[in-house]
Symmetry: C2
Subunit: 109 residues, 2 copies
């Protein structure tokens, strides 16, 4: 089995993470991954991302580059997860407060 | 004495606030106002904003429109302050966690 994992950035940059989160589509991806049970992983296809495939790829890349999410490849499938432990350790409370602050918009959108 | 105050938005939008914060110059304005002693107010001239005047005006407007900051006019002078109480009540922990998360970048920048 071919298992690869793209390495997340070693240094987490707070501003880069903030900018990665400050977009409704990307924040919705984060929200879906945050609400993921069990393994916390979803495939790209398992996420509901209402934009074109190339736009979605751009958003995934922005989140991956910032270290907000990480991917695990298994053969041709990509599994994504939120790097919650790393983010909570480095930036306590940020992900939760941002998800809460934007929850109303997500619910009505 | 001519005292006017531009009314901040009645409804605070979490996504709009997040997008207003996700810029190094605007976040630095917020950081300066957050660290302001006594009245919590600064004039535009009292803030260190290393961009052109028109760019600075754009950033102030973005923060005002989102309700992150508010202004009080006294004659021809404008005093700005962070709407910390309103933000902390509506979005607990967000401003503090965002300022903490980006503090290292601000210190080295």
């Amino acid at each position: 089995m071919d298992i690869k994992q793209k390495s997340p950035p070693v240094h987490l940059d707070g501003m880069q993470i903030l900018q990665a989160l400050a977009d409704p589509v990307r924040l919705d991806i984060v929200r879906q991954l945050a609400g993921c049970p069990d393994s916390g992983e979803l495939t790209c296809g398992g996420l509901h991302v209402p934009v074109t495939k190339s736009t979605a790829s751009h958003h995934f890349k922005t989140l991956l580059d910032a270290g907000v999410i990480a991917e695990r490849r298994e053969g041709t499938r990509k599994f994504l997860h939120l790097r919650r432990a790393e983010l909570d350790e480095r930036f306590p409370g940020m992900i939760d407060s941002v998800l809460r602050a934007t929850a109303a918009a997500a619910a009505s959108g």
